[in-house]
């Protein structure tokens, strides 16, 4: 059931109605039933996977919580009798017990993810290695299904597991409540990757019907659909035409591919997240924001603080920090400082941790080399920027014009161009093709295609381009208005007839200008596949 299907709209309409009719205590159980129904409709064969993750993580968290509770009770009861050393020994022993269960559950769930998502990728690479050594025997591929949203719900579950292990949240006692946290249907397919500590504040509490809140939520849903069906799905037509035929669409077309795909990705992903967050908001549930006007970033580093925030913060909190402060990494720090000196030596472990994070971020996006190279390309740019940071700072301090608006705009456009270039790795599975397409843009002999009407042969008409342009300008305006605070609040303060015209106008635009019908594919969201 795609977010863009009539079935989904009907499903949500019935759910929302029921949600506010039934007794408040029954609201979260209703959401659990709805979430499992949603997942069942998506594919009954996926259910055992999500159920396995839910149960194993739930039980492990409960065991770890019980160890932690017993530890606190014991230490409290024997506060006076135990020496500092004895307390430390006891704590270490309990910690090892928790660690055993934690690692077991972690390996099990990462194992499931690795098997369904990455097994064939490993087999492909092993086979390539075997054939290159002249072997005629190759491994056969595994016939596996990739459960919907597995990367998202596995990461969300592991985040919870780590939080309970660290003692930053208490393990949920009610297995059904925990099951809802993992399966909450609006966020199941493309995030945002929620934190239990944040989500549990509103997910299980009773919610009264609040017309402003419901209205605001649905307004955001409407805005999400606008971005998805009017802009992203329309650009999808041109982008897929060009990507599908690299031998024809190169040179000047490469620039068009990078630009169109980057806008499509933004409209698609932020649109999907708007639908998710808006839908949750209409039910009184607060999800964390996933974007903060990312294309206004002045550097790639800033971009990664503002794009796909829930994934980036997940990797930061649950991978970058633990790896960076781990004992082996401390050992590497000491060693590298001895060998390379204080200044260089202490940066090596930092870069090593970052490389691990970016490799993982790449492979999280998909089981193929183009995503790994994409991750490592991001890593390379970020590390080069990091090294040049003192130089930038001197430059910025010395020249006053670096504080001016034109220079800020230049930095924003430069970052946008860089993001466009990096996004090209998303488009082609083959890295060689990505390289060819990228470099063909420089000194191409076909720049005339940008102006001679060739772009009208990509499956889009002049009207389509006008709609895209107006849509992009509208997105830009909304992003600029966001700088002054909530756009929905700003609209809410307008006289009722004007507000009504905005809502109704947006609705009509989606109905009349959405990319539907033959030639269009109101397809799944790009991030559904990750």
């Amino acid at each position: 059931m795609l977010f863009t299907s009539y079935e989904f709209l009907g499903f949500c309409a019935v759910l929302l109605l029921l949600y506010y009719i039934i007794p408040k205590k029954a609201q979260w159980p209703l959401l659990l039933i709805a979430s499992y129904a949603f997942y069942f409709i998506a594919g009954p064969q996926f259910l055992p996977f999500i159920a396995a993750t839910t149960l194993t993580v739930y039980l492990t968290a409960r065991v770890m919580q019980s160890i932690a509770d017993k530890q606190s009770a014991y230490l409290k009861a024997h506060k006076e009798e135990l020496s500092k050393e004895e307390k430390k020994i006891f704590k270490d022993k309990q910690k090892r017990k928790k660690l055993f269960w934690f690692v077991l559950c972690l390996l099990l769930n990462l194992g499931i993810l690795a098997t369904v998502k990455y097994a064939n990728f490993f087999i492909t690479n092993i086979n390539s290695a075997l054939t290159s050594f002249g072997s005629k025997n190759v491994l056969s591929f595994v016939n596996v299904i990739i459960p919907l949203g597995i990367s998202f719900y596995t990461f969300q579950s592991i985040g919870y597991l780590i939080d309970v292990y660290r003692g930053t949240v208490k393990a949920e006692k009610n297995v059904f409540k925990y099951a809802l946290f993992v399966s909450f249907f609006p966020q199941l397919v493309q995030g945002p990757i929620g934190r239990y500590g944040d989500m549990s504040e509103t997910l299980y509490t009773p919610h009264k019907f609040d017309s402003k809140q419901v209205g605001f939520g649905l307004e955001r849903v409407l805005w999400g659909y606008f971005k998805k069906v009017v802009i992203a799905d329309r650009l999808f037509v041109a982008v897929s035409t060009m990507i599908g035929d690299p031998s024809t669409y190169n040179g000047a077309y490469s620039i068009v591919i990078m630009l169109f795909y980057t806008i499509q990705l933004y409209a698609d992903f932020t649109g999907g997240i708007d639908i998710t967050i808006g839908l949750a908001e209409s039910m009184g549930i607060r999800l964390s924001e996933n974007f903060d006007r990312p294309y206004f970033s002045k550097s790639l580093k800033e971009y990664w603080r503002r794009w796909h925030i829930s994934m980036c913060s997940w990797f930061r909190d649950y991978l970058f920090y633990p790896v960076s402060v781990s004992k082996p990494m401390q050992g590497i720090t000491k060693f590298s400082k001895k060998v390379f000196g204080d200044k260089v030596g202490k940066r090596i472990p930092l870069y090593l941790s970052s490389a691990i994070v970016w490799f993982s971020t790449g492979i999280w996006h998909g089981a193929s080399w183009n995503f790994i190279v994409w991750g490592m390309a991001n890593f390379a740019v970020l590390m080069i920027s990091e090294e040049f940071e003192p130089l930038y700072k001197k430059f910025n301090d010395k020249f006053k014009f670096t504080k001016s608006f034109p220079y800020t705009l230049f930095r924003i456009l430069r970052t946008f161009a860089l993001v466009c270039a990096l996004n090209l790795f998303d488009c082609y599975v083959s890295i060689a093709t990505t390289g060819k397409i990228f470099f063909s843009a420089f000194g191409a002999s076909n720049y005339h295609v940008l102006f001679d009407g060739s772009l009208l042969k990509l499956g889009l008409t002049s009207l389509d381009y006008i709609i895209i342009l107006c849509g992009v300008l509208l997105m830009l305006t909304v992003s600029l208005l966001k700088g002054r605070g909530s756009v929905r609040e700003q609209i809410f303060r307008l006289p009722y007839p004007v507000r009504f015209m905005i809502y109704y106008g947006l609705f009509l635009i989606i109905i009349l200008m959405g990319a539907y019908g033959i030639g269009y594919d109101a397809s799944q969201f790009i991030y559904n596949q990750f």
Binding site: R166, Y321, S324, V325, E386
Partner: protein, 76 residues
């Protein structure tokens, strides 16, 4: 505390760490800064800061950070 302020100033000479209270929330310290800081602090104060301790509340101000160091020293 003075040594800590020195470490922080080495990292960002343009920030007044004695008064700044939103080092994380305002994005003054990023994840790379935090790890550099932890390396320096571990050496200087001989404490072990784990990933569990890396939360905004502990890193938002020099005062909070110093309180963390003292707490960890006591635990050790």
């Amino acid at each position: 505390m003075e040594k800590l302020l020195e470490i922080l100033t080495d990292l960002h000479s343009d920030v007044d760490f004695e008064t700044e209270e939103n080092l994380i929330d305002d994005g003054i310290l990023d994840s790379m800064d935090i790890i550099s800081l932890i390396t320096e602090i571990s050496e200087e104060y001989d404490v072990t800061i784990t990933a569990k301790d890396i939360i905004p509340a502990n890193f938002n101000s020099a005062k909070a950070l110093y309180a963390l160091i003292e707490r960890l020293s006591d635990e050790d």
